[in-house]
């Protein structure tokens, strides 16, 4: 039963002897195992019969096709599979036999004769082996499973297959003659290139030893393998034209044969191009391929072997259009007198063949002159990097490609006028001034402020206290009565006897001392003259209590009793809304008294249900808002009922306009106004008289302190003004 191997990638079964899976091309065997078997059975590059190949056995078709395809792939594809090469090289290294010679066919390919020292030279072309083509033939199955080539070479297959069928190893290519064995080279065009390069090297600028290219180790290993094992059947991944174009054994094109069996149409095309374009292909011996120079120095590319460093780059690129095994079948120019080393013999019998599109597309375009010109002295030649030695490379922009973390800053200049600049400088100075620390001025010693305050306080207390406690009546009462106070007295005197007077107590307990002194003379004068019935009300919660205090304290001598001569309606809630409501309907707004008794049917308020039925309205207030509220809200409801204000000294000046406008019948403002009323009342109740001396003393002290302070500040301002010492 045939052994089968399961592919680890796709899971398909394959014969055990296959190195690659026939479905997915996955490697089924190790490189050693695959190559060892192949080494033992079949060489990779079959030698023609009689060429010294071990066994002198004719190559099978599949191996020949393998060699052909391999060489073709090596000229087309890039060699990137170093890892594969490592495996290949590893296998080759292990299997290399020191005693093995380099096969002739290998030597011809590489242009190295037996014992040639150049064999030891590292060959750049011996790069990674081209991975096996998808279309390479299998030993057992032929071309059973064919996968599409990654480079789109499927279209080539039919042509090549057709060509291969028509060709035999002995026939070669029409117009291409086989290279003699003693040249040990197949590529005549490479010989020609070598010859032209040799001439170019005679020039001084080529005298500089080109730097040895950096040959990877695996290439060296390949070289060792190739020198040691000529029958190893090593794969040549690198195109031959790259590996050793200066090989002694140049490939010559013949009409009859082609060593690699390339079709004639490809060789013919190469020969035509070589003969036609004088500037493209410089295969003639007389040609002098330009040497890349830069400033007088010879720049040698790093990745080319020594043999081709002096070659024309254009020629190298031009040679890329066809595989190496084809190029050796072409003669770039007809040479008189036979072949020359490195030249290609042009055969007249080679008929031109139309190249396929893909081949034509691979033609390098004519190099455009760059700067001083390609090939001219001083041309822009790369001195380093992967483009070492190449000419016509676009010069790099200074700074291009240099990564920068931030863009370049550019100065911004605004079109600012002179005024803008002045304002900007002004703003800048202001800002700078804000941050500039100011020098601290000398502060006065601590304690002077507090001592001055204590002194002033003690002076005030002393003056007022002495005047109060002494009971002195030294200072005279005022004599000039204000108009508003006179009007208030007149209004009080004009009441009807026993009229109902609404008295509003809208002041706070903190001002009870002043308000009692202010309102008591007016009420006392009214009580004495007209004996009115009083209805007490307040918009402050503490008002009813203050009313009781006044009537039971300062005015107790008048003998007013609640429920008989006066009623206390209590607290009107709602502020100005309550006043408005009371003004419109007092009974509905305040149906009960402060003690929840029905007051509107009591004796003091008998027959009074509307605001207009009151005899007068006396508002005792210490604030502008309260007085104004009663003035405004009762304007339409009270009719002709006089409204008399007894206000604090701080509210009196602001309520005076209402008197001037006629809205208020009279105004008693503070102690000063109450003094006049008390004088008109024959000094009753006498509270103002008791306060007057102390009040006057306090005023004198305040006036003195204000005067002294004003003089002090004037003197300091005069002393500290600018310009004085």
């Amino acid at each position: 039963m045939e052994e089968v191997v399961v592919c680890p990638n796709c899971g398909e079964t394959n014969p055990a002897d296959l190195p690659f899976c026939q479905h997915c091309q996955w490697r089924l065997k190790t490189l050693d195992g695959a190559w060892s078997k192949l080494e033992a059975e079949t060489p990779l590059h079959p030698e023609p019969a009689g060429k010294g190949y071990p066994g002198d056995a004719p190559l099978p078709d599949w191996l020949e096709a393998l060699h052909t395809q391999e060489a073709q792939d090596g000229s087309i594809r890039e060699k990137t599979t170093e890892s594969v090469d490592d495996d290949l090289l590893k296998g080759l290294t292990e299997k290399a036999r020191p005693d093995d010679e380099l096969p002739d066919w290998v030597s011809r390919i590489m242009g190295i004769s037996e014992g040639d020292e150049s064999r030891d030279e590292p060959r750049v072309g011996d790069s990674a082996q081209v991975p096996q083509s998808d279309t390479q033939a299998r030993p057992d199955e032929g071309r059973a499973s064919v996968l599409p080539s990654p480079l789109g070479l499927d279209s080539v297959e039919p042509d090549f297959r057709e060509l291969r069928e028509d060709l035999s190893p002995a026939e070669g290519v029409p117009g291409i003659e086989p290279v003699p064995s003693e040249d040990s080279s197949v590529f005549d065009w490479l010989k020609q290139l070598d010859a032209s390069t040799a001439e170019a090297e005679e020039q001084p600028e080529r005298s500089a030893a080109p730097p040895s290219p950096e040959i990877p180790d695996w290439v060296g290993q390949m070289q060792g393998i190739s020198t040691e094992d000529e029958a190893a059947g090593e794969l040549e991944a690198t195109p031959d034209w790259v590996m050793n174009p200066r090989a002694d054994g140049a490939i010559k094109a013949t009409d009859d044969t082609s060593v690699s069996g390339a079709p004639a149409w490809m060789d013919e095309d190469l020969s035509q191009r070589a003969a036609g374009a004088a500037g493209d292909l410089q295969y003639t011996d007389a040609s002098t391929p330009p040497t890349p120079t830069n400033g007088g120095k010879t720049i040698v590319p790093a990745f080319l072997p020594e043999e081709i460093r002096g070659l024309d780059v254009d020629a190298l690129f031009a040679s890329m259009q066809a595989p190496g095994w084809l190029a050796d079948l072409q003669t770039p120019e007809p040479e008189a007198g036979g072949e020359s080393a490195g030249g290609i013999k042009e055969q007249a019998s080679i008929s031109p063949v139309a190249l396929p599109n893909w081949v034509q597309a691979m033609r390098p375009s004519e190099p455009a002159p760059l700067g001083p010109g390609v090939g001219e002295p001083g041309a822009n030649v790369e001195e380093g990097g992967p483009l070492l030695g190449l000419q016509g490379v676009l010069p790099a922009v200074p700074g291009a490609g240099v990564p920068t973390s931030r863009p370049r800053s550019k100065a911004l200049k605004l079109a600012a006028s002179e005024l803008d600049q002045k304002q900007a400088s002004l703003l800048e100075n202001l800002i700078a001034g804000e941050t500039r620390p100011l020098p601290l001025r000398g502060t006065p010693p601590a304690g002077i402020g507090r001592a001055f305050r204590w002194a002033a306080s003690l002076l005030m207390l002393a003056a007022v206290g002495v005047a109060s406690f002494s009971g002195s009546h030294v200072l005279a009462m005022p004599t000039s009565m204000p108009n508003e106070t006179a009007a208030a007295i007149e209004a009080a005197r004009s009441l009807e006897p026993s009229a109902v007077v609404l008295v509003v107590f809208d002041y706070e307990p903190s001002t009870v001392g002043e308000m009692e002194a202010t309102a008591a003379p007016l009420l006392d004068h009214m009580m004495i003259l007209r004996h009115p019935r009083l209805a007490v009300v307040s918009t402050s919660p503490t008002g009813p209590a203050l009313a009781e205090r006044m009537l039971d304290g300062v005015l107790k001598d008048r003998g007013y009793v609640r429920g008989q001569t006066y009623v206390n309606l209590g607290y009107i809630p709602g502020g100005l809304i309550g006043v408005q409501a009371f003004a419109q309907d007092p009974v509905a707004t305040m149906p009960f008294g402060v003690a929840a008794e029905p007051v509107w049917k009591s004796a003091p308020l008998a027959g009074t249900v509307q605001l207009a039925e009151f005899g007068a309205i006396v508002v005792i207030t210490d604030s502008l808002e309260s007085g104004r509220t009663w003035i405004e809200q009762t304007a339409t409801s009270r009719g002709n009922v006089p409204l008399i204000l007894a206000a604090s000294a701080q509210a009196g000046p602001m309520l005076l306009p209402y008197f001037d406008s006629g809205q208020v019948a009279g105004l008693v403002a503070g102690i000063n106004g109450a003094a006049h009323v008390e004088i008109a009342n024959n000094g009753l109740p006498g509270l103002v008289r008791q306060y007057w001396d102390a009040y006057s003393a306090g005023l004198y002290v305040a006036t003195l302190l204000i005067a002294l302070g004003t003089l002090w500040h004037l003197w300091r301002g005069y002393r500290n003004r600018p310009g004085t010492s």
Binding site: S457, F469, G513, P541, T542, Y571, Q580, P657, G670, Y691
Partner: protein
């Protein structure tokens, strides 16, 4: 011990605590202030209950007639909603009654100001130029002074200045002069107000000192 002595003694101590502010802020002053605030708040709460809530809202619902009960249903409901303002979660329920209060207060205030202050004062100002007023020199001077003070005080608050040139931001010379006169009027007005405040405070001091003196028997 008579209640008057106790209350008098308490008042005496609290008065001294308040006057201790002369030497600086101290705990006695703060204590007396706290007492004042607490007593005032308690008294107000008691007055509000006994003179407003109980007789106007509770009593009609308990012992009032049907019409009185019906009349108090709406304010009772609105009062309940207004109480929801105390809880943030239900504060939105207090928005309607608060809106009613604010709306009515604004209407009353605006109407009263317009009818009770603006128009009468305007008429009074115009009346200063009445023939009867200007018949005497006093009337003329009074009217002129009022007019000058009125115009100058208003121009003092006019801050429109020049927009270009070297005098950028400065007022015209004429306006600057009149504004200066207005500043004098304003200064006199503020001085009068300060005098009134001082007079009221002085009177309060006199009354308190008299109390202290009478309590200790000095008077």
């Amino acid at each position: 011990m008579p209640l008057e002595i106790i209350s008098g003694g308490i008042a005496f101590l609290i008065t001294l605590m308040i006057l201790s502010y002369l030497i600086g802020d101290n705990s006695a002053f703060r204590f007396s202030v706290h007492i004042l605030v607490g007593v005032a708040a308690g008294y107000v709460a008691a007055v509000a209950w006994w003179q407003v809530i109980f007789p106007r809202l509770i009593l009609p619902l308990i012992a009032g007639p049907a019409d009185a009960r019906a009349a108090t249903a709406v304010p009772l409901f609105l009062s309940g909603l207004l109480l929801m303002k105390a809880w943030p979660r239900f504060s939105r329920l207090g928005a309607p009654p608060l809106g009613v209060l604010v709306g009515i207060s604004s209407a009353v205030a605006v109407g009263g100001a317009l009818e009770g202050t603006l128009l009468p004062q305007l008429i009074s100002g115009i009346d200063l130029a009445a023939p009867a007023r200007i018949a005497s020199m006093e009337g003329i001077l009074n009217g002129a002074l009022v007019l000058a003070g009125f115009v100058a005080s208003l121009l003092y608050f006019q801050f429109t200045g020049k927009g270009r040139g070297a005098e950028l931001g400065k007022r015209p010379v004429a306006i600057e002069f009149v504004a200066g006169i207005g500043a004098i009027f304003l200064a006199v007005t503020l001085g009068i107000l300060f005098a009134g405040v001082y007079s009221a405070a002085l009177t309060a001091l006199i009354e308190r000192l008299r109390f202290l003196g009478s309590f200790v028997g000095l008077r």
